[in-house]
C-alpha cells in the first residue's frame, strides 16, 4: 500500500474513533471546547507517530531477534508510558493552560488504546519503519479530526436547548454515534478506486 493509501486508510476508512471505536475516553472527555481538543489531538498525534516508530524499532531489533514476540504488549506499553510522561513534561513547561485543560486525560493517553492499537496494527500488517510512522501519524490525525469535529458540535450543543437528561455526555455520545454512521461511507473501495492499494 502506498503512503498516501496508508494515510487515507487511518484518517478516514479506519478512523480510530469513529470506525474502530478506540480512544473514546479522551474523545468524550476533552471535546468540550475546540482549544483543548486541538491540544489533545496534537498530543495524541505526537504520541502515536513517535510510539509507532519506537515500538516498531523495539519489536524489530529487541523482541523479534530473541523470539520474544509474546512480550510485545508489555514492551509497547512501557515505551508508550514513557513517551506520554515526556509529552506531559513538555506541555507542562510550554503551556500550563493547556496542561490544566487536558487534566487527567493527558496521562491517560498511556492507556488510550488507539496508541497501543496502532503499534500492534503496524506489526500485524508487517509495515516497515516509514510505513509505521505514516500509519501512526495518520491515526493521530484521524483522532485529531474526529475530536475537533466533536468539539465544534458540542460547542454548538451547549447553546441549544437540550433536554435535561440528555445534556452533557449523553447527547455527546448520541452525536458520536451519528458521526460514526456518517463515517461508514468511507470504504476500502475508496483507495482501491484511486489506485493507491
Amino acid at each position: 500500500m502506498s503512503y498516501i493509501g496508508i494515510l487515507l486508510t487511518y484518517v478516514f476508512i479506519q478512523n480510530f474513533i469513529l470506525v474502530q471505536f478506540m480512544g473514546l475516553c479522551p474523545f468524550i472527555g476533552v471535546s468540550k471546547n475546540t482549544e483543548s481538543a486541538v491540544g489533545m489531538g496534537a498530543a495524541v498525534t505526537f504520541v502515536t507517530a513517535i510510539a509507532s516508530v519506537v515500538c516498531w524499532a523495539v519489536y524489530e531489533f529487541l523482541l523479534a531477534p530473541f523470539g520474544l514476540e509474546y512480550l510485545r504488549t508489555i514492551a509497547f506499553i512501557l515505551v508508550i508510558a514513557a513517551l506520554v510522561q515526556l509529552v506531559e513534561m513538555v506541555i507542562r513547561k510550554m503551556s500550563p493552560g493547556l496542561y490544566k485543560a487536558l487534566g487527567i486525560y493527558l496521562p491517560l493517553i498511556t492507556t488510550n488504546c488507539a496508541v497501543l492499537g496502532i503499534a500492534i496494527i503496524n506489526i500485524d500488517n508487517g509495515y516497515n519503519l516509514l510505513e509505521s510512522f505514516t500509519a501512526g501519524l495518520a491515526a493521530g490525525l484521524g483522532f485529531t479530526m474526529a475530536i475537533i469535529l466533536m468539539s465544534c458540535i458540542r460547542e454548538k450543543l451547549d447553546m441549544t436547548p437540550v433536554r435535561r437528561v440528555f445534556r452533557g455526555v449523553p447527547i455527546a455520545f448520541i452525536s458520536a454515534g451519528l458521526m460514526a454512521l456518517a463515517f461508514m461511507m468511507f470504504d476500502k473501495s475508496l483507495i482501491a478506486n484511486l489506485g493507491l492499494v
Binding site: 508489555i74 514492551a75 514513557a82 507542562r92 435535561r164
Partner: protein, 264 residues
C-alpha cells in the same frame, strides 16, 4: 535461558526509559510559587468565568500577580475572598453574594403575543424577529437561553411558563445576564426580599396594552410611603438596596399592578 533474555531485555528497556525520564524531568522542571499553588487549590474549580478571567487558574494567577482583586469570584463568595486574603497576607472587605433574578413575571396568560413564533427555540434568535413574539419588547421571551448557559442548573421554567432562578443554586457567575437579549436578568443581592419584577421602560398606557403585570411607572411605591427604597426612573420602579428595606413591604402592598414581588 529464554527467560533470562526476556528479563534482561524488558528490564533494560525499562531502565533506559526511566533514566531518560529522570533526566528530562530535571531539564523541564517548572518552578511554582507556593502561594500560587495554595491559591489555585483554594479556587472552587467551576471555571465559570464570572470573575472576567479565562478560568479559575487564570484568575488565581492574576490575583497572585496583583492584577486582580481577591473577591471577584462569586461561587467562592466571602469565604474564598477571606482565604485568598489570608494566603496573600492582605485584608479583604466582605461583600454580599449577588444572585441572578429574572425581572419579568409575564407569561402567556398575562402578556399579549403579537405573533406565533415557531423558529429556533432560542431567545437571541427570536429577538432578531421584530424583537420577539411578545407584545412587551423588554420582557422575558421564555425560550430559556439562560437555562442552557447556566453552569449550575439554577434556572428553570415554572408551570406558568415563567423563568425563575433558584437563589440557593445560583453561583452568581452572571452568564445568564449576558446571554439574555433583553437584559431581563440582572444581579440582585442574595438577601433582597422585595423586587420590582419588570423591565419595561415604556409609559403606563403602553405597558398596560401589552401586559397585566408590568410596572406602569405610577410612582405610588415611591411617593405614598415615606422612606421607601423604590425609585421610579424612565417609567420603571427600581429597588435601591443601599436604602434600608423596612418600608419595602408597605410600598409593595400598594402596587396597583402587583409587580413588586416578594422573593422567599
Amino acid at each position: 535461558m529464554a527467560i533470562v533474555i526476556a528479563f534482561l531485555i524488558v528490564g533494560g528497556l525499562g531502565l533506559i526509559l526511566g533514566i531518560g525520564l529522570a533526566v528530562a524531568d530535571k531539564k523541564l522542571h517548572v518552578e511554582k510559587d507556593e502561594k500560587l499553588i495554595e491559591l489555585e487549590e483554594a479556587m472552587p474549580g467551576a471555571n465559570c468565568g464570572g470573575c472576567g478571567y479565562a478560568g479559575c487558574q487564570a484568575y488565581a494567577e492574576a490575583v497572585f500577580k496583583g492584577e486582580a482583586a481577591p473577591g471577584l469570584c462569586s461561587p467562592g463568595g466571602n469565604a474564598l475572598a477571606e482565604k485568598m486574603g489570608q494566603i496573600l497576607g492582605v485584608k479583604v472587605e466582605a461583600k454580599e453574594k449577588m444572585v441572578a433574578f429574572v425581572f419579568c413575571r409575564g407569561n402567556r396568560d398575562t402578556t399579549k403575543t403579537e405573533f406565533v413564533y415557531s423558529g429556533i427555540q432560542d431567545c437571541n434568535a427570536a429577538s432578531l424577529l421584530q424583537g420577539g413574539p411578545s407584545a412587551c419588547k423588554e420582557g422575558c421571551l421564555h425560550l430559556g437561553s439562560c437555562i442552557s448557559v447556566c453552569p449550575a442548573g439554577a434556572i428553570s421554567k415554572t408551570e406558568d411558563g415563567n423563568i425563575v432562578v433558584d437563589k440557593e443554586k445560583c453561583i452568581g457567575c452572571g452568564k445568564c445576564t449576558t446571554v439574555c437579549p433583553n437584559n431581563v436578568i440582572k444581579m440582585v443581592p442574595y438577601s433582597a426580599e422585595y423586587i420590582v419584577a419588570c423591565n419595561n421602560h415604556q409609559n403606563g398606557a403602553q405597558v398596560r396594552k401589552a401586559c397585566q403585570v408590568g410596572c406602569i411607572g405610577c410612582r405610588i411605591c415611591q411617593v405614598k410611603v415615606e422612606g421607601s427604597p423604590f425609585k421610579v426612573e424612565n417609567f420603571l420602579s427600581v429597588n435601591d438596596y443601599s436604602v434600608p428595606q423596612d418600608k419595602a413591604a408597605e410600598a409593595a402592598g400598594l402596587c396597583p399592578q402587583k409587580c413588586i414581588i416578594r422573593r422567599s
